[in-house]
């Protein structure tokens, strides 16, 4: 049973390594980073307590928001999805990504206290 899981995972990783273009791999690395940061924040909150609750919330929401926006970017610049986003070029997706991030950071900074 575990064998098949391991074989599935290794095969997935192989295919991932070969088929995904470099750009997407860059974005995936960024996604991994965001994920880890968010998880660590949550761990801290569980262990130590929610003392400055607003700070915890703003940090966590920043991670979650960034993750979502990066996922959107990845979807939009993936060449395999070109049919779904005919009117949105990668540059446009990137610009949207930047704008949404500005708003997100404004809110996060307001809340971080």
């Amino acid at each position: 049973m575990s064998n098949s899981v391991i074989s599935v995972i290794s095969r997935f990783l192989d295919e991932y390594g070969t088929t995904t273009p470099n750009k997407l791999k860059v974005v995936d690395a960024y996604l991994l980073y965001i994920l880890l940061t968010g998880a660590l924040q949550f761990l801290y909150c569980l262990l130590v307590g929610t003392f400055p609750f607003n700070s915890f919330l703003s940090g966590f929401i920043s991670c979650v928001g960034s993750f979502i926006l990066a996922v959107c970017l990845r979807i939009q610049i993936n060449p395999q999805n070109k049919g779904d986003f005919l009117s949105i070029s990668p540059e446009r997706a990137f610009a949207d990504f930047l704008f949404a991030h500005t708003v997100l950071h404004l809110v996060v900074m307001n809340f971080i206290g």
């Binding site: 880890l36 009117s87 070029s89």
Partner: protein, 632 residues
């Protein structure tokens, strides 16, 4: 008021108020000669005001002649026109009539009506009324008469008791004077109702001291007007009930008009009098006899019981009298005596017979009484009216027990039974909490009081020795410490929440930053680079702008508030947006340009790459690689 009006004056205006005011009150003006020379020296023939004051004073005091010249007369006549203020017109007309000079009444009426339309305030219209009363009777004064009614409507009703103008006492008093003088002049009753007159009198004469000479003068004029006019004369009834105890047999009333002149021709009759408590009438239509200006009635001869009585009094005799039905409250008081005071100590189980001692007022019982927890102490007495012999039930009948040593006192109420016999019983065991169980000698006082009693009683009847079970050590009575500063309360501020130790925080901060390192490593491994970085101005601007925005975020966290941040963000963001737009467009064009070129020969678009290109509106699948004409 006479004192205020008799003061020394420094100018003609105050001289006018003082002299004329005193004359209206019917008092004599002191220092005639001084005043006359003063007036003559102060007279300024070129001023209408000065002429007015002097003329009025000369009318009041005899023998004070003012020299009148043609210029003076012309000056005064010229002042009577539509262009001068109402005050000017009034003073000019009064001066003319006091000096005996002729004036054209119709012209005056014309200018008065014109001024009334222009100056619509109370004082102006009052002065118009006053002026009109000086004119001849042939003139058409009807329009001005109507103003009285208008002004009456403007009076403010305060609580149903007072009626006055909101401009104050002086305006109200001058209005009354002017209205009555004009009504007398044209011989028509002023349209002021009786209860309005009563209310006006209340408000004008309610003040006992006046702020200024002109105010005092206005009140004096109003008083004179109200006593001397032909239509309404308010009556003032004051009771002079000096000592209504049964020893004096009369109750006296002073019936006067507003200037305290007694109305001799009036008849004063008591229409009815009844006791307030029982509503039984004791007098009906009893006349007062006049005795040297004071009206007296001997009603004690009908032997009324003590208490409060309501008298309704009517003053008749003159058809002008107003406010001639008055209600007075009279109190008849009496003296009380305590009779049949019996003191006894009764045993609770009634096994031992009672020992009754009679005590007479005002002496004290010879022996003291002892009562312990098995016995009751009892007291009974009667309260009797001295003159009539009727039993009384006054409001306050208290029994007070006073401990001489500790200063403690306890008060009880004695209640009457159905036969008006007062009884008081002290149950020693039951009441010991009120005495704090302190045994000892208590002096017993009887306190009797009432509003209708002339001799309240405080009588030390006897000494009582009370013995309580469970006696505690007699503690001195502490005065209640109510007003001593209380212990201070320390305010506890909200404790800040416990923070985790700095070590833990720092550790986790480092931990959080570690994925960033991971990111950089991964990117390096993937080969992400900035090799296609072109140094065009828009690119540089874009990156700078972006960095500035991130820096702004940090500054927002530390220093700014939302509004300032939004302001800066708008500026930087706008710049960044424009630069970024250009930069991204250039990037897109470059990518697109890499795929296409033109056939040199045929000027046709040749697309070289076979990879599907994505670029805005130009995204299409490149399917041909050569110029379709020449296959290049």
């Amino acid at each position: 008021m006479q004192n205020l009006l008799s003061q020394q004056f420094t100018d003609l205006e105050s001289a006018y108020y003082s002299v004329v005011g005193l004359t209206k009150l019917g008092a004599t003006v002191p220092d005639h000669e001084v005043r006359k020379t003063f007036v003559k020296s102060q007279l300024d023939s070129t001023s209408v005001d000065s002429l007015f004051f002097a003329a009025e004073i000369s009318r009041a005091i005899s023998g004070c002649e003012i020299p009148v010249s043609n210029e003076t007369r012309d000056l005064l006549l010229a002042a009577v026109s539509e262009d001068s203020t109402m005050t000017q017109i009034h003073r000019a007309v009064s001066a003319l009539s006091s000096l005996g000079l002729p004036l054209a009444s119709q012209e005056v009426v014309g200018s008065l009506t014109a001024r009334i339309n222009k100056e619509d305030n109370v004082m102006a219209i009052t002065m118009a009324l006053q002026t009109a009363s000086q004119l001849s009777q042939q003139a058409e004064l009807g329009g001005i008469l109507e103003e009285i009614e208008d002004l009456t409507a403007r009076l403010d009703d305060l609580g149903g008791l007072y009626l006055q103008f909101e401009e104050g006492l002086e305006a109200t008093a001058m209005f009354v004077t002017a209205a009555y003088s004009l009504s007398d002049h044209v011989d028509m009753e002023p349209p002021i109702k009786e209860d309005q007159v009563i209310q006006l009198v209340n408000s004008i004469f309610s003040k006992k001291s006046w702020d200024s000479l002109s105010e005092a003068f206005s009140v004096a004029s109003a008083a004179a007007a109200l006593s001397g006019n032909r239509f309404h004369v308010p009556v003032v009834v004051t009771a002079q009930v000096t000592s209504p105890s049964l020893s004096l047999s009369d109750s006296q009333l002073l019936v006067t008009d507003v200037i305290s002149q007694p109305l001799d021709s009036a008849n004063v009759v008591v229409e009815s009098a009844y006791a307030v408590a029982s509503k039984t009438a004791i007098l009906n239509q009893a006349p007062f006899t006049i005795n040297d200006g004071i009206f007296e009635l001997n009603f004690m001869s009908s032997q009324p019981a003590s208490g409060y009585y309501q008298f309704t009094i009517a003053v008749t005799g003159d058809s002008r009298l107003v406010a001639n039905h008055v209600e007075l409250k009279v109190k008849v008081s009496t003296e009380v005596a305590v009779t049949n005071m019996d003191l006894s100590v009764v045993d609770k189980d009634q096994s031992i017979g009672t020992k009754t001692t009679r005590v007479d007022y005002p002496s004290k019982a010879k022996s003291s009484f002892t009562a312990d927890s098995h016995q009751n102490f009892a007291m009974s007495f009667q309260l009797v009216d001295v003159n009539t012999g009727v039993e009384l039930t006054p409001h306050q009948t208290f029994v007070r027990l006073h401990n001489q040593k500790t200063g403690q006192e306890v008060v009880f109420v004695a209640e009457p039974d159905s036969k008006n016999l007062y009884k008081f019983e002290l149950d020693t065991a039951e009441r010991k909490s009120e005495f704090d169980s302190i045994s000892g000698t208590y002096s017993l006082y009887l306190i009797v009081g009432d509003a209708t009693l002339e001799n309240p009683i405080l009588w030390n009847v006897a000494d009582v020795i009370l013995k309580f079970v469970d006696e505690e050590a007699p503690a001195t009575v502490q005065p209640k410490t109510l007003y001593v500063p209380k212990p201070e309360i320390q305010h506890l501020f909200r404790e800040p929440e416990k923070k985790p130790p700095t070590v833990v925080s720092n550790t986790f901060t480092a931990l959080i930053l570690s994925p960033f390192l991971l990111l950089l490593i991964l990117w390096f491994k993937l080969g992400a680079n900035i090799s296609s970085f072109s140094f065009s101005p828009s690119t540089i601007l874009f990156h700078l702008g972006h960095a500035a925005m991130l820096g702004l975020m940090y500054v927002y966290w530390t220093h700014l508030n939302m509004f300032q941040t939004l302001k800066y963000l708008a500026i930087i963001g706008g710049v960044t947006f424009l630069a970024g737009n250009r930069m991204l467009a250039q990037k897109a064009v470059k990518r697109y340009a890499w795929c296409t070129s033109e056939c040199m020969i045929h000027d046709l678009l040749v697309i070289r790459c076979s990879v599907r290109a994505q670029r805005g509106s130009h995204s299409f699948f490149h399917s041909f690689i050569h110029c379709h004409v020449c296959n290049n």
